[in-house]
Structures are given as structure tokens and as C-alpha cells.
């Protein structure tokens, strides 16, 4: 597996609250190969954003704290690096774009200043050179009239343009890994499609790996090959996107897929998964999904199932598959 770019192994993230210590990410493991796109799906509060911030070592500490595990990037455990060494990796090898393009850019600097700043944080070049590289980046992400736009302030750009500027900033040093945390959630549907198309195109051009974090399985289907479903701080299912859509194994994934509105369906009401994500301080003793699961049995209430390899790169965390690894019900 020399192709592995990033391997997260048994990651444990805790948050200290006044009511106690909550384990927000509990034993999450996954890997991303060079040039691959991995999707991470889950409801809000499932730990997907915390996982991505942990990779960047940008978790607000305190209250957050990486309690265990390893995050190996190009053979190096990021958790062992000093803050100074981490600054050399952020933006240069691993970049991140965020959900809110409205607030993710600094309102008092032009987008050109902010992108140039990223470039000059890692490369010893003149301000003039950085500016011309910035204009090139803006052009690449499809911002019209980049030479003029470079001196615009964030408030002068639309949401979609701001997200493009964010992408230009994240990609300005051709990172090997881009973490996109809900990059299209705050955008209009038409703009969403444009941004996803842009990400797909750039990924091809730059041969970069992407971790795409979203709650929207539709977005995953557009962009990624492989997907990981998270629930209440754990991975519950991992599969190729096509396989997952064809036949979800985990009851939670099944519920998620059923919740996507279908235009050609005769169904009148949308499917909902009953109940709520359990609070991180009051997780059930057994399977974390058991209280909401239509198939829950006695064993599900008692013991948490392990992540079971199902062959073909698939794995699932559910008692249903204990005795029939080929997926029979």
C-alpha cells in the first residue's frame, strides 16, 4: 500500500464539557490514496467535521482534545509534529475549504491579499509574483476578470464567487490533499453543481486527493468513488458509492438513502429516520443506532457490534451480518 497518502488509525477525540467528557470521535479509521476522492457522510454532530479539523490539527483545544490514535500523512504521524512543523504542512500539503464562504474570508482584506498571503507563507517570492500567481489561480477556478477581482473585498463577491476564491486559496500551493467540509451546503443548487464540477475538474488537473465531507448523499454521488458513513462518532459503513446506492448494508445508510427526495416516486411524504442522534454524553450501551433502528434485536441493545469486513472493500458495523458475511438478511 505505497499509494496511501493519509491513514487515520483509531482516532479518538474528546470534548470536555461542564457535564463531563464526551467522546465525539470514537475509534475512527480510514485511509485515502493518492489522487483518490473519499466521501464522508453523516448527520450533524456525527464527528465528521471534528475528524477533518483533527487532521489539520485545528481542533479548538481546549475544549477539544485528541485522546488517541494516529494520523499518518505520507508516512509521518501528524500528531507528533510541533505547531511550527504543522504550519509548514497546512496550506502547503493539506488544505481545507469550509462550509461558510460568507464568513470564511477575512472581511478587511481583499481576496488577492488573502490568497497571496497563503502563497507567501510557504514560498519566498515577491509580492508582485504572488499577485500574478493569485490572478492565475482565480482564473483557474473560473472567476471572470481575475485581474480586477483580485482587488475585491469578500463582500463585493457573491457566495459562489467567494467559495471559488476559497478554493483558489486552498489550491494555490498545489496541496496533495484537499479537505472540503460541506463546501456546497451554503450555496444555491445551481451554484452547488458548478462548484462540484469545478472540484472534479481541478482534481483531475492537479492529481490531488480530496476528502469531501457532507450530509448530502447526492453530493457524494456526484463527486466521489468511495464513501464512509459516520454515525455518532463511529464509522458504520464503508463502500464504493455505486455499491452503497445499489444496496446499503447498514440500516442507517438505508434510512439516509430513503430520505433523499425522489422526483419520480409516487410516495407523498418523505422518509424520515425516527428519533435523534444520541447525545455524545448519553450514548446507548449497545449499538449506537439501535434506539432508531427498525431491525434492532436484543443483542443490539446489549453489545456494540464491531466493524465487519464484507469483502470488495466494504465494511459494516451491524449485528445483522454476524453470521452471513455475504450480506444475506
Amino acid at each position: 500500500m505505497t499509494d496511501t497518502l493519509l491513514a487515520v488509525e483509531d482516532l479518538q477525540v474528546e470534548f470536555k464539557t461542564s457535564e463531563g467528557t464526551a467522546t465525539v470521535v470514537d475509534g475512527v479509521s480510514f485511509s485515502v490514496n493518492k489522487g483518490e476522492t473519499l466521501g464522508i457522510v453523516g448527520e450533524s454532530g456525527c464527528g465528521k467535521s471534528v475528524t477533518s479539523l483533527s487532521i489539520m490539527r485545528l481542533l479548538p483545544t481546549p475544549p477539544g482534545n485528541i485522546a488517541g490514535g494516529r494520523i499518518v500523512f505520507q508516512g509521518q504521524n501528524l500528531l507528533d509534529l510541533s505547531e511550527h512543523e504543522m504550519c509548514g504542512i497546512r496550506g502547503h500539503d493539506i488544505s481545507m475549504i469550509f462550509q461558510e464562504p460568507m464568513t470564511s474570508l477575512n472581511p478587511v482584506y481583499t481576496i488577492g491579499q488573502q490568497i497571496s498571503e497563503a502563497i507567501r507563507a510557504h514560498k519566498k517570492i515577491s509580492a508582485r509574483e504572488a499577485r500574478s500567481q493569485t490572478v492565475k489561480m482565480l482564473e483557474m477556478v473560473g472567476i471572470p476578470e481575475p485581474a480586477q477581482r483580485v482587488s475585491n473585498y469578500p463582500h463585493q463577491l457573491s457566495g459562489g464567487m467567494r467559495q471559488r476564491a476559497m478554493i483558489a486559496m486552498a489550491l494555490s500551493l498545489t496541496p496533495k490533499l484537499l479537505i472540503a467540509d460541506e463546501p456546497t451546503t451554503a450555496l444555491d443548487v445551481t451554484i452547488q453543481a458548478q462548484i462540484l464540477e469545478l472540484m472534479r475538474r481541478i482534481k483531475e488537473e492537479m492529481d490531488m486527493a480530496i476528502i469531501l465531507i457532507t450530509h448530502d448523499l447526492g453530493v457524494i454521488a456526484e463527486v466521489t468513488k468511495r464513501v464512509m458513513v459516520m454515525y455518532a462518532g463511529t464509522v458504520v459503513e464503508e463502500a464504493l458509492v455505486d455499491d452503497l446506492f445499489l444496496k446499503p448494508y447498514h440500516p442507517y445508510t438505508e434510512g439516509l438513502l430513503a430520505s433523499i427526495p425522489q422526483l419520480n416516486s409516487t410516495q407523498e411524504r418523505l422518509h424520515v429516520i425516527e428519533g435523534m442522534v444520541p447525545h455524545a454524553l448519553q450514548r446507548p450501551r449497545g449499538c449506537r443506532f439501535a434506539p432508531r433502528c427498525p431491525y434492532a434485536e436484543e443483542i443490539c441493545q446489549r453489545t456494540e457490534p464491531a466493524l465487519l469486513a464484507m469483502g470488495g472493500g466494504r465494511s459494516v458495523r451491524c449485528w445483522k451480518y454476524k453470521n452471513s458475511p455475504q450480506g444475506g438478511e
Partner: protein, 317 residues
């Protein structure tokens, strides 16, 4: 931005006129007749004819509206009239006294800014060490202690017990620069205390708020060092609300300087005002209040323009 400034200037002019008018009429509604006071007060029981003559001499026999239009007309031309007390022109005295008060207020403001902002940043970034509670409680003390108590405390401690600084008085800078600074130190520190505390608390809360903002996370995800993110990004944004607070505080400082001037015997504009009010010296009181209101409105104008310069959303509108 240009229109913004022009519009604000026009509004300011109207405001100054309204304030001047209000001052004029409210002053004339006060009981007490300057002519009577000039003749020794009601105890002296002056001859009614002498009183009428004095009123005529001081121009107080004119109808009030006439007095108002005369005064306003002259004021627009820059002539604030003559003191009823000693017939000296009001303008030069006003300039001299105001200069001395500004010599107090400007250093106090600078002190409050250059000490308050770094202290606020320190408190914000060391929220979990002893620095934050230490600085925050000191600031609370700065808020709560009245300026005259602090002033008297300083006079007693530094002026009388330790005798390292003069307890009160004033020397002109042109006469004795070092003496001026010695006399200035205690009153300026006393006056700056409240503003320093406010600026510190404001900086602390604004920087903390900005450090939690999304763009700070973006800046860090670019690989910028924490110090750069703190000063170039978070503090730069925090300066917007801080600048507003500073402007408001400069206004409050004129109030504070009344007490500070009186504790330290500083011959500024406030002692001038108080004496003139007691003697019903209308032209002087009107002149002082007109000047203070112009200053107050001017400072707010400068604050608005500064805010505009700091905030691209306003600057580019």
C-alpha cells in the same frame, strides 16, 4: 466615502447650531443677573438706576431674541464676544484654556490606547492562565474607582508620601519642558484610567470573539503562524469596535477632566467654565460650551471616518 464624509459634515454643522442655541437659551433661563453680580450681588442692594445702566452697558437690556441673533452672527464670524466680568475678549482666553485641557486629554488617550490594547490582547490570549483574571480584575477596579478618589490617592501617595512628583499645579511646556512632564504625569494617568480599563475590556472581548471567527480558522488552515493570525487578522478586525469605544471615551474624558483639573489644580478649560457659570458670565460660558460641543461632535466625526477607513464595506460604499 467622499459623500459619506460630506453628509456627516453637514449633519455635524446642524448639530453644533442646535447645541449652541440650546446652550444660549437655557443659560439665559438660569436665575441670577450678571449686572447684579457685577455690582456686588443682591446683598449690596445697588441703586436701580445703576443696575439699569449696567444692564445697558453689558447689552442685557436688548430683547432676548436680539441678543441671540447678535451673538450667533458674531460667533459665525469667529467673534465670541467679551467677558462681562473683565471685558477681555473670550476667544484668546478660550484657546489658551482649551490648549491646556487638550495637553491633558491627548496624552491620557494615547496612554489608554497603547497600554489598554496590548493588555486586552494579553488577557484574551491567556484566558486560561493567571494573566486574564489579574488584568480583568484590575480593569474592573479602573471602572469602579471614581476619578477624584484615584486622583486624591495619587496626590497623597506620589505627591505627599513618596514625593517623587508634584502634587498639583501647572507649568507651560515652553517655559520648562521637564517640569511640564512632571506636572502632567499624575493627572494624565488619573484621567486615562477609566478609558484604559474600557479599552482593555473591549479589546479582550473583541479579540476573543474574532479568534472564534471562521476566517481565523481559514487563516490558520493556510499555515500562518498563530501570532500573525492573532495580530494581522483577529486584532485588525477587533480594531473596528475598539475605535468606536475610544471615540466615545474621549467624549467622556471631557467630563472626567473637570474633576481631574480640580484635584490637580490644572488651569484648563473646566475651571474657566465653572468660574464663569458662578458669575453668570454669559459670553464665556456660551463660548466654552460651544467649543466643547464642536470638539465632541468633531471627535465623533473623526471616529466615523476612521471606522470607514478600517471597514472596507463602509469605505467603498
Amino acid at each position: 466615502m467622499k459623500w459619506f464624509v460630506v453628509k456627516r459634515l453637514l449633519i455635524s454643522l446642524v448639530l453644533v447650531w442646535v447645541v449652541a442655541t440650546l446652550v444660549f437659551f437655557s443659560l439665559h433661563m438660569l436665575p441670577g443677573d450678571p449686572a447684579l453680580i457685577a455690582l456686588g450681588g443682591s446683598e449690596a442692594n445697588p441703586d436701580p438706576e445703576a443696575l439699569a445702566a449696567m444692564q445697558k452697558k453689558l447689552g442685557l437690556d436688548r430683547p432676548i431674541l436680539k441678543q441671540y441673533t447678535d451673538w450667533m452672527g458674531n460667533a459665525i464670524r469667529g467673534d465670541l464676544g467679551r467677558s462681562l466680568l473683565n471685558d477681555r475678549p473670550v476667544g484668546p482666553d478660550l484657546r489658551l484654556r482649551l490648549g491646556r485641557t487638550l495637553q491633558l486629554i491627548i496624552p491620557a488617550t494615547i496612554l489608554a490606547i497603547i497600554v489598554g490594547i496590548p493588555m486586552g490582547v494579553l488577557a484574551a490570549t491567556h484566558r486560561n492562565s493567571f494573566w486574564d483574571p489579574l488584568l480583568s480584575s484590575t480593569a474592573l477596579l479602573g471602572f469602579s474607582v471614581p476619578v477624584f478618589v484615584l486622583g486624591l490617592l495619587f496626590v497623597w501617595l506620589f505627591g505627599l508620601r513618596l514625593q517623587i512628583l508634584p502634587a498639583s499645579g501647572y507649568v507651560a511646556f515652553s517655559d520648562d519642558p521637564i517640569g511640564f512632564i512632571k506636572y502632567l504625569t499624575l493627572p494624565a494617568i488619573t484621567l486615562s484610567f477609566g478609558m484604559l480599563a474600557t479599552v482593555m475590556r473591549m479589546t479582550r472581548s473583541c479579540v476573543l470573539e474574532q479568534l472564534g471567527a471562521d476566517y481565523v480558522r481559514t487563516a490558520r488552515s493556510k499555515g500562518l503562524a498563530y501570532k500573525i493570525v492573532l495580530y494581522k487578522h483577529a486584532l485588525r478586525n477587533a480594531l473596528l469596535p475598539i475605535s468606536t469605544v475610544v471615540a466615545l471615551q474621549i467624549g467622556l474624558m471631557f467630563g472626567g477632566s473637570v474633576l481631574v483639573e480640580s484635584v490637580y489644580n490644572w488651569p484648563g478649560i473646566n475651571s474657566f467654565l465653572i468660574t464663569s457659570i458662578n458669575l453668570r458670565d454669559y459670553p464665556v460660558v456660551q463660548g466654552v460650551l460651544l467649543l466643547i460641543s464642536i470638539l465632541f461632535i468633531g471627535i465623533n466625526l473623526i471616529a466615523d471616518v476612521t471606522y470607514g477607513l478600517l471597514d472596507p464595506k463602509v469605505r467603498l460604499d
